[in-house]
């Protein structure tokens, strides 16, 4: 027996010794070029690292993409081609931006110009990667590969034909690995990734896609100081007419430079059971069923059993990350907060640029002489625990978010809007400056903006869930920030969501209060009897997490769920089901694009 033990231990040590070299050794030196660009040279067996730095290569790829077929097949027809990443529905969108069309003649003409004709003469070979399981992305990769194979096999372009001249292979990798390649090793020549807005403003798209420090552009090696200045000038223009012209010019610039293939703006669909009515869609509404306040439920028809009359049940994927408004930066969490908390203003109807007062009684009075934005706070509003809403609660809500300043969270928007372009986090400023940026004046709350051009974008920021109003007294009772400079150290920069006092506790002014959050399973909200603006349409609002699509679909058809998340690839099968109300062509403020990596496997640009 003792012998056995010793043998076990020796075996374990052996295993550890086998594994350790992989862990402790210094990372292997970078190979001369990536594994995805073949020989690394323009010899027909690969591509050079900077293959895509030639604009003719990029344009050739833009022309050699069949946008209509992509939208029809990959998106079930639910998409619209766009000329630049600035999509319809954003402030600053230019419907006149030109778009590349599928044109093999032009693609060939451009490729013949690239690399002094060498790209065409020698051909190329590289690998396209996509994140496994994402069917639209796989379709797009396959289409790129097939199109170039067809060009090589077409006598019109190549005589004699050479089917192997343009070889693109397609490979799947797990999402973390793809992320590691885009933002770490940068060894993929071309890749796809999508973007969702923080606030519906062109600036929120041109910066990540075009600024030399942008989230995407910096890693593909696009952008320069001149373009950065142009982006800043567009944002800071307070004249709407000239500002629009500047954004038009930027969108034209993206078309001209072709740093990526802009695939499509997805148009979403929603499927409800026939028992649910009243849906309307605002593109900024991150939550899947939209604003549930306008929904109602009654027994309409027999195709689907009518159950749980007093409840709205949504079955979907993806749990909330936290229920702390200052922490949340994802759609699942935002959707919960939208039902529990309220903001000062919110988008009016289906608009993305006009607002309705919610916890304020006006939509903000801007004073250009001192860059202040003034809101009058509504009276007669109570939190779920019965406390009354005061202007001090509003001031506390914003200061609390800024002194918590969760790393990687949404609060950079407050810092940028209130404290200036150089301020991204608590480390870049002082407590006094934060304190002075939001002040109470009688029944009013006054924000001092970093510049007059922030008036519209800041109002858009105020509609986000990060700008939810919390109850100061209750927060302090829960052990949250005490409202003093000394107390900042206790709450600053939390690492895990559970470290913040409001992680799984809520006390908002919204129509529903948190009843139960079973992590990974469901989030249950119950109507708040004391809601200031009427009786909520449902007693229970339930957000259930069911990962398996077939199970989710069956719950909808059995009436156990009123709405389910339908992935784009399953739209077609839903159309044959009876008893559903579907809403189509709902523009989402997002874009999927191919990015050309202009310098494969180079060290990432410094922020």
């Amino acid at each position: 027996m003792a012998k056995k033990l010793i043998v076990t231990i020796i075996a374990l040590i052996g295993i550890i010794a086998m594994v350790l070299p992989g862990c402790t050794a210094e990372p292997a030196p970078e190979p001369p070029f990536s594994a995805y660009i073949g020989s690394g040279q323009l010899d027909g067996k690969g591509i050079p690292e900077d293959f895509f730095s030639d604009i003719h290569v990029r344009k050739a790829f833009c022309y050699a993409f069949d946008y209509d077929t992509y939208i029809a097949e990959a998106l079930s027809g639910q998409g619209a081609q766009r000329g630049s990443p600035v999509v319809e529905g954003l402030y600053g969108y230019d419907p006149g931006t030109p778009m590349y069309s599928y044109n093999l003649d032009q693609a060939v003409a451009e490729m013949k110009l690239a690399w002094d004709g060498q790209a065409w003469e020698k051909g190329f070979k590289f690998t396209l990667l996509y994140n496994a399981g994402n069917l639209p992305r796989k379709t797009a990769c396959d289409m790129v590969a097939e199109t170039w194979a067809r060009i090589g096999a077409n006598k019109k372009y190549l005589d004699p034909i050479d089917p192997d001249r343009f070889q693109i292979s397609v490979q799947a990798l797990a999402w973390p690995a793809i992320l590691g390649k885009i933002f770490g090793t940068r060894d993929m020549p071309m890749y796809q990734i999508g973007w969702l807005p923080d606030y519906p403003h062109a600036d929120n798209f041109v910066v990540p896609f075009m600024n030399s420090h942008g989230t995407f552009s910096s890693f593909q090696g696009y952008g320069d100081a001149e373009l950065d200045a142009q982006i800043a000038a567009a944002f800071q223009d307070t004249n709407p007419v000239t500002q629009q012209q500047k954004y038009n010019a930027l969108q034209q610039r993206y078309y001209d430079d072709a740093p990526g293939i802009v695939l499509a703006q997805p148009l979403g669909r929603r499927y409800f059971t026939q028992h649910i009515t009243g849906f309307f869609y605002n593109p900024c509404e991150s939550s899947y069923p939209g604003d549930i306040w306008y929904l109602s439920k009654s027994d309409n028809g027999d195709d689907i059993p009518f159950k749980n009359a007093d409840s709205l049940i949504e079955a979907t994927i993806g749990d909330a990350e936290s229920l702390d408004p200052a922490w949340c930066y994802d759609t699942a969490s935002g959707q919960q907060l939208r039902q529990i908390y309220e903001t000062l203003i919110y988008y009016a109807g289906t608009s993305t640029g006009t607002f309705n007062p919610i916890l304020a009684t006006n939509t903000g009075v801007f004073n250009p002489t001192d860059n202040t934005l003034r809101f009058t706070i509504r009276t007669g509003v109570t939190f779920h625990n019965g406390n009354s809403l005061t202007p001090e609660d509003v001031e506390y809500s914003f200061e609390r978010a800024m002194v918590q300043d969760r790393p990687g969270g949404p609060i950079w928007m407050f810092y940028q809007a209130l404290l200036g372009a150089d301020v991204w986090s608590y480390d870049d400023t002082t407590y006094a400056a934060i304190s002075a940026s939001v002040e109470v004046d009688g029944q009013d709350v006054v924000f001092t903006l970093a510049g007059p051009y922030w008036e519209l974008p800041f109002k858009q920021v105020l509609c986000g869930q990060w700008a939810s109003i919390v109850d100061e007294q209750w927060c302090i009772e829960q052990g949250d920030w005490d409202g003093t400079e000394e107390g900042v150290a206790d709450v600053l920069h939390p690492q895990d969501p559970g470290e913040t006092a409001l992680f799984n506790k809520c006390n908002g002014t919204g129509p529903w209060k948190l009843n139960l959050w079973e992590s990974g399973i469901q989030i249950v909200k119950e109507a708040y009897d004391g809601y200031w603006n009427g009786t909520p349409p449902f007693h229970w609002v339930i957000y259930k997490i069911i990962e398996e699509w077939s199970t989710r679909k069956l719950s909808l058809l059995a009436g156990d769920a009123d709405i389910v998340y339908v992935p784009g690839t399953n739209f077609d099968e839903m159309d044959t089901e009876l008893g559903l109300n579907s809403f189509e062509n709902l523009p989402s403020l997002s874009i999927d694009a191919f990015f050309f990596n202009m310098a494969v496997a180079e060290a990432p640009a410094e922020e």
Binding site: L179, P305, Q495, S519, K544, I546, D560
Partner: protein, 348 residues
């Protein structure tokens, strides 16, 4: 050696096992780059420029021993870390997802074992006759069915075709609200047991209704396994001399089969049964996912696919612990079935 000393020694064995398992898993995760591991904390594209910050915050680029040291230090302070896929401490995650899995295991294990033993011994006793052929074909069929296929087909028939008859998840919406209200005490979080303790019939019936399909799905595959094992083991002991003796002295065939042959044939089945239970109790990923019966297997699968390393390690610790424990129980059971076995490795 006494039973107590044996148990203590087996439990002591846990220490190197747990250490080895965690070092091994931790080592494997180090093959993923810091960026890949940081992606766990990225929930949307707009956070991607924060990757370097995340790596620094969580020390993901530190050397192996430093990262492992931080983790093991936490563990010695009673903190297994934070499972980011379910947003709760690993310890809480284990406790909150275990009851669902245990509920499945508690119902499925007896069905699997008893049905497997019964069918297996029937098949062996009627070797090469109709009973044998039918059970063998059924066993091969059951064993070959992929769980995800069987589960989905059952769900489509009994939930889809018969609208809402046997639903997924653990409880229906009104019962769910009831068990989470103040009127219902959740002693164990195993709904059927809690319903009995609360003397609540509707909850019990509802919980059973939700259990039928996942338990059938689990049983069909594993019954086949036990049945085949029981059959071959039984055939072996039916050919032994003592069975011949028993028959020769004129014992009834029922007694020969049930008492002389079956009891001896049970030994390998007991070993495997322990693992069947352990296998069910450490979670059944596909069944739990298809039926949205969220248990520990679902959690572990989520943690693994999203590189939630604290979660994976916590699950591995639980698993190692469970298997050592089950092994121990199986060993003790041996002594009950086979009087020749003495713990401590001495076979007389």
């Amino acid at each position: 050696m006494g039973l107590r000393a044996y148990i203590v020694r087996r439990l002591l064995l846990l220490i190197p096992v747990l250490f080895g398992v965690t070092v091994f898993i931790f080592g494997i995760t180090m093959f993923f780059s810091p960026i890949e591991r940081a992606s766990l904390y990225v929930r949307s594209a707009r956070q991607m420029s924060n990757l370097p910050l995340i790596i620094e915050t969580y020390g993901l680029d530190r050397p192996f021993w430093e990262q492992y040291g931080t983790w093991i230090n936490q563990v010695f302070h009673g903190n297994l870390g934070w499972s980011a896929v379910v947003q709760m401490p690993v310890w809480d995650a284990l406790w909150s997802f275990l009851p669902a899995t245990l509920e499945l295991a508690i119902f499925a294990t007896p069905i699997i074992i008893l049905a497997g033993i019964f069918l297996g011994s029937q098949a062996a006793a009627h070797k090469d006759r109709a009973v044998d052929h039918v059970t063998r074909v059924a066993a091969i069929g059951g064993w070959s069915l992929p769980t995800f296929w069987l589960g989905l087909v059952l769900l489509m028939i009994f939930y889809g075709y018969f609208r809402g008859l046997l639903p997924p998840e653990r409880l229906s919406h009104p019962m769910n609200m009831l068990v989470n209200s103040a009127d219902f005490v959740r002693y164990t979080h195993i709904n059927t047991i809690d319903a009995i303790l609360n003397l609540n019939g509707p909850v019990l019936l509802d919980a059973l209704r939700h259990l039928i399909l996942p338990v059938i799905t689990l049983s069909v595959v594993d019954v086949a396994f036990i049945m085949r094992l029981m059959r071959s083991s039984m055939l072996e002991s039916l050919g032994k001399g003592y069975v011949l003796t028993a028959r020769a002295k004129g014992l009834a065939e029922r007694v020969v089969v049930n008492k002389h042959a079956r009891r001896n044939a049970l030994i390998p089945v007991i070993t495997v049964s322990g693992y069947v239970f352990a296998g069910l109790a450490n979670g059944v990923v596909i069944t739990e996912t298809i039926f949205a019966f969220k248990g520990i297997g679902w959690w572990a699968a989520q943690a693994a696919t999203r590189l939630d390393i604290a979660g994976v390690l916590g699950f591995a610790l639980f698993n190692a612990f469970l298997f050592v424990l089950v092994n121990l129980v199986v060993d003790i059971l041996y002594t009950r079935v086979d009087p020749r076995v003495r713990l401590g490795g001495v076979v007389q």
